[in-house]
């Protein structure tokens, strides 16, 4: 199954290395594929390398999308984390 949700990046300096690393760690705990979509670009939430090229600034809107087992839980958890990261 496929599930997606939009959230706004609230981290003060955007998703730089440390918050992005936390996100990747979280995403890796799910077996389903998780993607972050932002301004026409897309990256696997499990790849810190790719994630950094998205330009996840403070205040920007992104879509968290997952496909596969527990997709909904994964998206909800990742979105919640994104909102919590400072």
């Amino acid at each position: 199954m496929k599930y997606e949700k939009s959230v706004i990046i609230t981290a003060q300096h955007g998703l730089h290395t440390r918050p992005a690393a936390l996100l990747v760690k979280q995403a890796k705990s799910y077996s389903c594929d998780i993607f972050i979509l932002c301004q026409g670009k897309q990256a696997s939430a499990k790849s810190l390398f790719k994630l950094q090229t998205l330009g996840l600034y403070h205040g920007i809107q992104v879509t968290v999308m997952a496909e596969g087992e527990n997709a909904q839980t994964a998206v909800e958890d990742v979105s919640n984390l994104l909102l919590k990261l400072s």
Partner: protein
């Protein structure tokens, strides 16, 4: 067979070998044969696995709350990325590249992509990516970055080159000697090694493969020989030699508190060149007349930001206090060239020695100069300070500086901040300054001849390039003529001439310089007693005779025969 090189800091040393950069960077840009592609992919996977393990081990030794922990964890996550490995493998396959080049390319694309984002905070991450790439490539090339803090035995450090900034991070307690493949006697690292009293051999063509880490080495940095796995007879000879030199040094100790004077009582102001705050602690037991050159840029080298006015003011005031009325000569920041500071984002220049350095730099970045001048002016109320400017070519630069100094004084007065008066001078170190000297002298209280850079610019020869350091020694007829011309011009204007280059620290050359009319010498700390001893053995009249003779000689060979056979 011992290896030979140029002695840039004399002494005898024993220790275990340690390569600082085990292999130079190498990349193979050739197309890989198709049958090697699989092997190259395996190499890549192994290297990344190995780096991951290394990072993991490192991580386990750190507290989870530390900043380093989070950075290392981020590196680990970057590498723990199947997509990344797939991308690099695809690059290897598609372009038939070796793993190192494929890593270089993929990571550079990535860094460029991040750089293109218009968020300063995020674009900084591209540096992390490039740094990780170069560590991976080092791993492929078999280079091991030495952890300097782990050195705990007498060590002779081997490297192809060491920058002044790297030198200042060495644990000098355990480093008994330094052997470099490149470098010349007047490079800044050589000056630092001499100041620290660390024996050093430069321009020594050692073979990285034939000397392994921890192999026993003996360095005779008097004769310029490096012995690998020396036998008993060499060891005992060098141990004896070390004892003898130590004894000679002890005999020199009687000069510690003596005035510097010739045998017939002509007093010569002897000052010292200072490149670090640590060196100032020895000032009072050397019997010198003060500091003749305070290299302010070295105190900034391992900091993350330019020091504030108050910080500099406190430092200069402390040193004046220590000097207790003796002269304090401060050279304004001489940055640029090889002495790049980590916190200055200078643009790369094709030819930094001829680029934005010395006063050129500070006149374009006046806030650095203003901060320094204000700190110096404020400190000057506690003792005599001479302020001098590096890399001056012409009177226009002096006018610009004095405008800035006037503005600083006006501002300080308006702010009701007290300050003192300074004497002003320049470092004469370019041929243009020599030619323009007469027009600048009316504005100056003294000049100081910087023979190291003067030689480099007069000869148009890079002072760090080992290919010709032997052909252009510091003492040559051309340089003596320059010094002679400078002195005659200064004498016509009744201006004091100091000499702060490496030539002054050579006990054979010091009497010659005095004979030529140099008024004061500024030398490196370890050379002080030797210079005092050399001058105490010769009369003032003999110095003049030596100068007359030396100035008449037109070849390096004849000049060296004349100067270096003088009894000192």
């Amino acid at each position: 067979m011992p290896l030979s090189g140029i002695v840039v800091s004399p002494g005898i040393a024993f220790g275990n070998a340690l390569h600082l950069h085990l292999h130079p960077e190498k990349r193979d840009y050739h197309l890989l044969p198709l049958n090697q592609i699989e092997k190259e992919k395996q190499t890549l996977i192994q290297v990344i696995d190995h780096k991951k393990n290394q990072l993991l081990q490192h991580l386990q030794r750190l507290p989870a709350s530390s900043h380093n922990y989070q950075l290392i964890e981020a590196d680990l996550l970057l590498l723990d990325d199947d997509e990344l490995i797939q991308n690099i493998c695809a690059e290897i396959e598609r372009f038939q590249l070796c793993a190192a080049v494929a890593i270089e390319r993929i990571f550079s694309y990535q860094a460029a992509e991040i750089n293109a984002l218009d968020d300063h905070y995020l674009t900084n991450r591209s540096q992390d990516i490039l740094s990780l790439a170069s560590r991976l490539i080092d791993q492929i090339n078999g280079a091991h970055n030495v952890e300097l803090s782990k050195i705990d035995e007498p060590t002779i450090l081997l490297a192809s080159d060491i920058t002044p900034a790297e030198f200042s991070m060495l644990p000098l307690k355990y480093i008994t000697a330094l052997v470099l493949k490149t470098g010349g006697i007047t490079s800044h690292t050589a000056i630092l090694a001499r100041s620290a009293g660390i024996p050093a051999l430069f321009d020594c063509p050692f073979d990285q493969e034939s000397i392994t880490n921890h192999q026993v080495l003996a360095l005779d940095a008097l004769a310029g020989k490096l012995y690998v796995a020396p036998n008993e007879s060499i060891l005992s000879r060098l141990t004896q030699l070390k004892k003898t030199t130590l004894k000679q040094k002890q005999q020199l100790l009687k000069f510690k508190h003596r005035q510097t004077q010739t045998i017939d009582g002509h007093e010569i102001p002897l000052l010292v060149n200072i490149g670090s705050i640590n060196e100032t602690t020895h000032l009072n037991d050397m019997g010198v007349e003060g500091i003749g050159l305070f290299r302010t840029e070295f105190m900034l080298m391992n900091t993350k930001s330019a020091p504030s006015e108050n910080k500099q003011y406190r430092l200069y005031s402390d040193i004046l206090h220590l000097l207790n009325g003796k002269l304090f000569t401060i050279r304004t920041l001489d940055i640029g060239a090889e002495k790049a500071l980590p916190f200055l984002n200078s643009l790369p220049e094709e030819n930094p020695a001829l680029g934005l350095r010395g006063i050129r730099y500070t006149l374009q970045h006046t806030s650095l100069l203003v901060t320094q001048v204000r700190a110096v002016l404020r400190a000057a109320q506690y003792g005599p300070i001479r302020l001098m400017f590096p890399m001056i070519n012409q009177v226009e630069e002096l006018e610009a500086i004095f405008d800035i100094i006037n503005q600083c004084q006006t501002q300080l007065t308006q702010d009701h901040v007290t300050f003192g008066q300074l004497s002003y001078g320049i470092v004469v170190e370019t041929p243009a300054a020599v030619m323009n000297l007469a027009s600048m002298l009316p504005k100056l209280d003294f000049i100081s001849i910087g023979t190291n850079d003067l030689t480099q610019y007069a000869m148009a020869a890079d002072r760090g390039n080992p290919l010709f350091t032997r052909d252009y020694p510091s003492l040559s007829p051309a340089i003596l003529s320059f010094i002679h011309l400078i002195i005659s011009t200064a004498q016509a204007h009744n201006t004091q001439v100091s000499l702060c280059g490496e030539l002054a620290s050579d006990p054979h050359v010091a009497p010659l310089l005095i004979g030529m009319g140099v008024n004061e010498l500024s030398v490196n700390l370890p050379a002080i007693l030797e210079i005092k001893s050399a001058l105490s053995n010769i009369s003032y009249a003999q110095c003049h005779l030596l100068a007359q003779k030396a100035l008449s000689l037109v070849t390096i060979k004849a000049l060296h025969a004349c100067v270096y056979t003088q009894a000192t």
